[in-house]
């Protein structure tokens, strides 16, 4: 990484310097109305080479999975195989346009059809939609579907969604956006959903439950089937948040646990690039009772033709055209490359890697829910007085590792949420462990080193509190 501080483009500016030489004006000059003119227009003045170097140096400060280890919990920052890029940039995909119509897009629609089919089979669903552009977008689709089903059943009064406190962080916001009320239920000491609290929350206003399995504390919800039965018996539907699908893909089909509708993130489990805002895809799969309500259009086979069609009672469109098509090509490539057995191995290795890290770190970094983890685990960073998780995270940057997710989930104080993914080798995991243990020693011997970290970056510890309280959003030079 380029660690030199970089001046702002305004600071590199020099009066009169230009990047392009415009030809002389060969049409009559017309004066602009004075009312539209500004006395001063503050733009940087630079030559082309300075601009190129400035932005190239900035790009060298990027932290990415292609440069460094990135154990960001719940984000599944796995390596994205380069063959995905080769496939997505084939001229047939790259040069098509959504408005050319189905007749000239048979290959593209067939790919979507096959991808839907693979994703349906992975989850045990009868149908699915590739419309949503992100995980939370998929959640919104699912909760709107639950709402639509309840209304169609004559149960419009069912507007309450149960969200366990171990759920993915976006779940309560999704319910609110869908116009539902959220009831939070607590986890028991084992990190599992408290069944007594669940039963108490079931009444005739219940629309459904949003459940993340494995949960954000990285443990498998063993009572999943029972939870689904309780919710179904009370007239509710079960939404599965597939943010953590990487731990179970190819091993179990969530629909068989009683999940009615679920999203999974192609940009996590199915190796398409993310981090920096996408583009993503939050495929939504549905059980028979909800399939007609899926967002559309979805790809269907009509005789020997492939067409895009809106499901019969669809909640409508969620995205222009056909979603993020380039992402679909990458995910399809990945699934075809791994096959069913490969996907299973992927999930097994993700779980193995997480348990390896947990076993090596938990004596120093306490784990609140200590049972065997799935793809991630949540440790705590407050094992020395005066040292916080934030200090450990900042110090990790000095050693070239991206910090884990911190202070989430909220049910673990001083959380450090570590997800190694299956794509890291043992040497990288060991190097990470050695650094974590070294930081723990530094925390005791030389806490200031941690308080002031990072030391080896273009800028040091940023004052996040001042930035949040008094944000300066414009350059004031």
């Amino acid at each position: 990484m380029n660690l030199q501080p970089e001046l702002l483009v305004y600071e590199l500016s020099s009066p009169g310097r230009v990047g392009v030489a415009l030809p002389d004006c060969d049409v009559p000059v017309t004066a602009l109305p004075t009312a539209l003119l500004r006395a001063e227009l503050k733009l940087p003045e630079l030559d082309e080479l300075t601009v190129v170097r400035h932005f190239t140096r900035l790009s060298q400060k990027n932290f990415s999975i292609d440069t460094q280890y990135y154990p960001l919990g719940s984000c599944t920052m796995k390596y994205n195989p380069k063959v995905n890029e080769v496939a997505a940039s084939l001229p047939g995909w790259r040069s098509t346009h959504p408005l050319v119509g189905a007749e000239f897009s048979q290959g593209a629609i067939e790919l979507m059809y096959r991808l839907q089919d693979s994703l349906n089979k992975i989850g045990g669903f009868v149908a699915g939609s590739l419309q949503p552009a992100a995980g939370a977008h998929g959640e919104l689709a699912g909760v709107l579907m639950i709402r639509a089903v309840q209304v169609a059943r004559g149960q419009a009064q069912r507007t309450t969604m149960i969200v366990p406190d171990s759920a993915h962080g976006t779940n309560p916001a999704t319910c609110t956006m869908a116009g539902m009320k959220v009831v939070t239920i607590a986890s028991d000491s084992d990190g599992a959903i408290d069944l007594t609290a669940l039963k108490a929350a079931c009444n005739d206003s219940l629309a459904g439950i949003m459940i993340t399995n494995p949960s954000t504390i990285g443990v498998f919800e063993r009572n999943m089937k029972q939870i689904a039965d309780i919710v179904h018996a009370a007239g509710g539907l079960v939404y599965g948040d597939g943010a953590n699908m990487n731990a179970i893909a190819g091993i179990l089909r969530p629909a068989e646990l009683g999940i009615d509708v679920m999203h999974y993130n192609l940009h996590k489990t199915f190796s398409t690039p993310h981090g920096g805002g996408g583009p993503g895809v939050g495929y939504v799969g549905a059980a028979p009772s909800l399939a007609d309500f899926l967002p559309g259009p979805i790809a269907v086979k009509d005789g020997n033709k492939f067409v895009m069609r809106q499901p019969a009672k669809s909640i409508g469109r969620l995205k222009a055209f056909y979603g993020n098509f380039g992402v679909l090509v990458r995910a399809y490539t990945y699934i075809r490359m791994l096959g069913g057995d490969g996907l299973r191995k992927m999930a097994e290795n993700a779980v193995l890697n997480a348990n390896y890290l947990k076993a090596r770190l938990e004596k120093v970094y306490p784990v609140k829910y200590p049972r065997r983890c799935m793809h991630e685990f949540v440790a705590m960073g407050n094992f020395v007085d005066g040292i916080h998780t934030l200090d450990i995270a900042k110090r990790l940057i000095d050693y070239g590792f991206h910090p884990p997710t911190i202070y989430f989930p909220l049910i673990v104080p001083e959380a450090l949420m570590i997800e190694p993914t299956e794509t890291e080798n043992k040497e990288t995991l060991d190097a990470f462990v050695e650094v974590m243990l070294k930081i723990a020693e530094e925390a005791r011997a030389n806490p200031e080193l941690l308080h002031d970290a990072p030391h080896h970056t273009p800028v040091g510890r940023l004052d996040e509190v001042s930035a949040a309280r008094n944000p300066v959003l414009c350059y004031r030079g």
Partner: protein, 127 residues
């Protein structure tokens, strides 16, 4: 942990303190410490009525955004205007200048059902 022995507490970490014919509500010292540096406080309009345990506002820290719940049913009579410019008051003086709202209780006797300081301390220590 500083604790106001005259106040009573909800398990969700809000306190209620009797002040004449209204109650003052804030968050406990334990809660402000767990939240970390508070950067934004959103409070309700005066005159708004809430049920017991209903969310009346949001406290945002560098770590998380959390709802705050009214410990007893009632109607808001005053909000702490100083918090808009200085949300860190909640960190510095949770039991003093960092109070959130004042409300008129629907049923003032609800106060007696809240946790007293000792019971709240025991509850908070479990976390």
């Amino acid at each position: 942990m500083n604790i106001d022995k005259n106040a009573r507490y909800a398990a969700s970490h809000e306190y209620a303190l009797k002040a004449g014919d209204v109650f003052v509500v804030g968050i406990s010292d334990h809660a402000q410490s767990a939240l970390g540096d508070i950067v934004f406080v959103e409070l309700p309009a005066v005159g708004k009525t809430f049920k017991q345990g209903e969310a009346f506002g949001v406290i945002e820290s560098v770590k998380a955004a959390s709802d705050v719940y009214l410990p007893m049913a009632g109607t808001i009579t005053e909000v702490n205007g100083n918090l808009e410019a200085d949300p860190a008051l909640v960190n510095r003086e949770p039991h003093g200048g960092g109070w959130l709202i004042k409300f008129k209780a629907a049923n003032p006797a609800d106060f007696n059902a809240l946790l007293d300081a000792a019971a709240y301390e025991t509850e908070a220590a479990k976390e």
